[in-house]
Assembly symmetry: C3
Homo-oligomer: 372 residues x 3
């Protein structure tokens, strides 16, 4: 007799788990938004051999079918729980390395050793997958709701009008600490004294724009001294106008546009896009996918490397700060009345928004459960 | 004033401990069966110096008296909890290395420093011990119930009619995952492709026999191609009849009999016995005592080594699989309706049986507590 | 808008934390006494660069102002929790390394980046500090109750009439296990066989004196053989009178006076003072500050080193025992009726006393909360 697969990892992983300090949004009840596309890997990381990756506290196995399309299943075998990623890819399917159950990329069971006719309906959990702009996106929630139109826009990552390079940084923090770091760039003055520091960013008024689809934090700095990064890499010497637009879209995407223009010579201008996909691995670790793209000197490979290295060094400084911050938060929750001032506008707005989305998702899941 | 020893480690260790995923038998309430003999050590491991060993989540100290008989006490000193195993054996007794309380092997206190007459009744917990067939067995439950007639039969381990060798493998899993691995040998086809794999074992019908004393899982394979192990080490070339009998007795004993006979030359036959004592160290680690014995070519030491090495390599493959399985189970309990088919017959029968025994033991303990 | 700092780390750290086995005094409800001075550091450890130190499960940052006076704040920044100790000392103040909030040593906020007038009342938690006898003391409870008259007397540490040397030992145990080790020196016979062992210490009657301010455990041994320590380092050969006075004052201070006098030549006499400040780092680790001072041969630096080294080797033996003890206690609480005899008098008296003080402090805190 063959039972249907009953792994219900999403709900179980959440249930009974005390949300880690700093993990849950204020007012939220679940840890992670689920009905969203998350970056799971760079295209080149997924091939014919199975890849195990933990995403949102869940083990996932990714591989490519014979035709090259990527697919993803829950990594726990529905038989006795061995990781499918320890098995082998045979044709389009993955075969468990323990007792040989086989599954295709949509989760259907295709092979039961010693049994000729695989019972209909036997399946395991699959994750909808989309490959775009050099990244592989996974839909971590209800597959029926997956909509490729909702994939966050990271087209700069392989747009021929842009040049640049990126990588994945493993960061031992809840993803929210990475997000909040990027939503308040005033920290550059203190954390990045040798690269991005300008007095102006602390004093500049912060504007936040929210249209229900995305949250934008804008700092417009006119006639300021360029930061060491733009002096050294982009040749700015005199005063510049420097505009930062940090655009956040749920669940965990931030695109930063930085436009710098010489006030003396308005033709000397550059725009950079820093792409940031902060995918939770667990509630205490994050796959931080980032890429820095520019719209000028596209063929200058040395400049690509120099900008990549400078940005990476900057991110290492951030990682040191937020991993130390996480250790403090782990031993005491945030205070009821923490100190807040104008630099916090963007972060606070994002936190309230995600908390609301978490509540809505929880309510939706509750209704679905009641209806089902 | 001297109080009596009140350490009640069994009950305390269980109480308030959330059974780890995969640890408790379905329907069971306690983690481990207690009123059973467990293999604690190889004879050669226990000598005049104290040996600390964790068994069923409890620290135990083992040593030999002057006359060579082994004995075992709870390793927590009933004074202030220092491990007795950090002390010294003096004569027949063990003396705590902190403040010098002395105990003999039945748990009676024999020395209180600075006090001439040790108060009667002062004692600590002892474990009944039996040494047999090269192994030292401990009774982990109520000493009043210990009965040497109940020691599981591993006589092949030092029977002059058999030859072989064994060792202890530390495995970072709950003992049930080792047991279930052995109760379903169909995994050989997928896990042991280079040594034990035969297609036949997957397809062969599984027979289970249960007589209330032991559970037997039998696969009778007629006229099959011998596995690489029997080809290489026992010289089988043509078709063979291959009979596997896996016999499980609680708490955690499995004896595997493998009989292989050439169909062309019925005189060419061999029987192997694989002895497996899977003693829980903690709920996430197991002392896996195993030994491979054969009934032919008893004086061939090179064959002993070759078979030992081949079997050990095979077990290393199992350890890799079940330790990965344990990591998956640690992050999600088994599903309510997992996939099950004919290969699972033996495992499921054993799980139900042990669950029943755990319930019975819990009820018995409850009655004893109420009566006491 | 700027909110007041609401970190309430003391209460939060306790709340919801299961007291570790062996951590809480019997009958006590909190883990650590708070309204007491604790040794936090040697004077030389604190300078102009911030020092992070965990004390009583709390992260603290220590530094010296421009005038050299030490100060201490909660190490969690009241903005987003980054450790202030990752920031920089600027003038008298510490500036957070993330977004630049500045604080002076009394906890007042002195700088909010981008804001001209720091709002009055904005502050973070500070710890009263006193520097004395080469050590820096912190008051870990309500600052309003801090009274320098209550600093425990360790004047021997830099008294010109005494000579000696000390250090900090990190010990992976709850501080109570260090304290109880020192309150019962009969363990020397078993733990320190090569240095401090004398049969006499086990057999000697134990006298305890308690005056409500301190607890004294006294052993007076007349005409005994000197221990190896006093033979080798202080030249005693024949019989000696040896008096030990172990004086405990809460929260975690023990001063041991050891007086040894030759019975033949009463002019040959020496007094040692062993100073022991056992400051909890967490509930499983202790900063054990100790120092050994003598009243003879003050200028003999080689003797200072020899005595320091001998004492340190002795303490290493204790650390091995009590860390093993802690591991046992971690897996089972102390028994309801443990074995106790005359050597336990001092320890038991201290445990009951501290348990009473913990209850009183809890009641006092409750009343203060109700009144406030
Ligand atoms: S665990 Fe995957 S087939 Fe058995
Ligand atoms: S802890 Fe064993 S005698 Fe004290
Ligand atoms: S965390 Fe310290 S100023 Fe922001």
């Amino acid at each position: 007799m063959i039972g249907l697969c009953g792994w219900d990892t999403v709900a179980r992983a959440e249930r009974g788990r005390r949300p880690a300090a700093g993990a849950a949004e204020p007012g939220g009840t679940a840890i992670f938004l689920r009905n969203y596309w998350y970056v799971a890997a760079w295209s080149g990381e997924v091939g014919r051999a199975p890849l195990q990756r933990w995403l949102l506290n869940e083990p996932v196995v990714l591989w490519r079918r014979g035709d090259g399309t990527p697919c993803a299943l829950a990594d726990r075998c529905p038989h006795r729980g061995a990781p499918l990623s320890n098995g082998r890819v045979v044709g389009d399917d993955i075969v468990c390395g323990y007792h040989g159950l086989g599954f295709c990329g949509d989760g259907s069971c295709t092979q039961v050793p010693g049994i000729d006719d695989v019972p209909a309906g036997l399946s395991t959990r699959h994750y909808p997958v989309a490959e775009r702009w050099g990244w592989i996106f996974l839909w971590m929630g209800d597959p029926a709701l997956a909509d490729e139109a909702a994939i966050p826009d990271y087209h700069w990552n392989d747009d021929p009008g842009w040049a640049g390079r990126g990588e994945t940084l493993p960061v031992a923090v809840n993803y929210t600490l990475v997000r909040d770091n990027l939503l308040d760039l005033s920290h550059a003055h203190f954390v990045h004294q040798k690269t991005l520091a300008t007095d102006a960013v602390v004093d500049a008024p912060v504007k936040t724009e929210f249209d229900g689809e995305s949250l934008r934090v804008i700092r417009d700095m006119r006639g300021i001294e360029p930061s060491p990064f733009f002096k050294r890499l982009c040749g700015f010497n005199g005063a510049v106008d420097h505009r930062q637009e940090v655009t956040f879209t749920p669940a965990a995407n931030i695109v930063i546009s930085v436009r710098v223009r010489s006030t003396e010579n308005p033709d000397h201008a550059v725009e950079n896009r820093v792409l940031n996909a902060m995918t939770p691995e667990t509630d205490r670790s994050t796959h931080y996918f980032w890429s820095l793209q520019r719209d000028t000197q596209l063929d200058d490979a040395a400049l690509t490397d120099a900008m990549f290295t400078a940005n990476r060094d900057t991110f290492f400084e951030d990682v040191a700060v937020i991993e130390a911050q996480q250790k403090m938060l782990d031993t005491a929750p945030e205070p009821a009345q923490p100190v807040r001032w104008h630099i916090d506008k963007g972060v606070d707005r994002a936190q309230r928004w995600v908390a609301k989305l978490l509540r809505e998702e929880a309510a939706q899941t509750g209704r679905a459960a009641a209806a089902g």
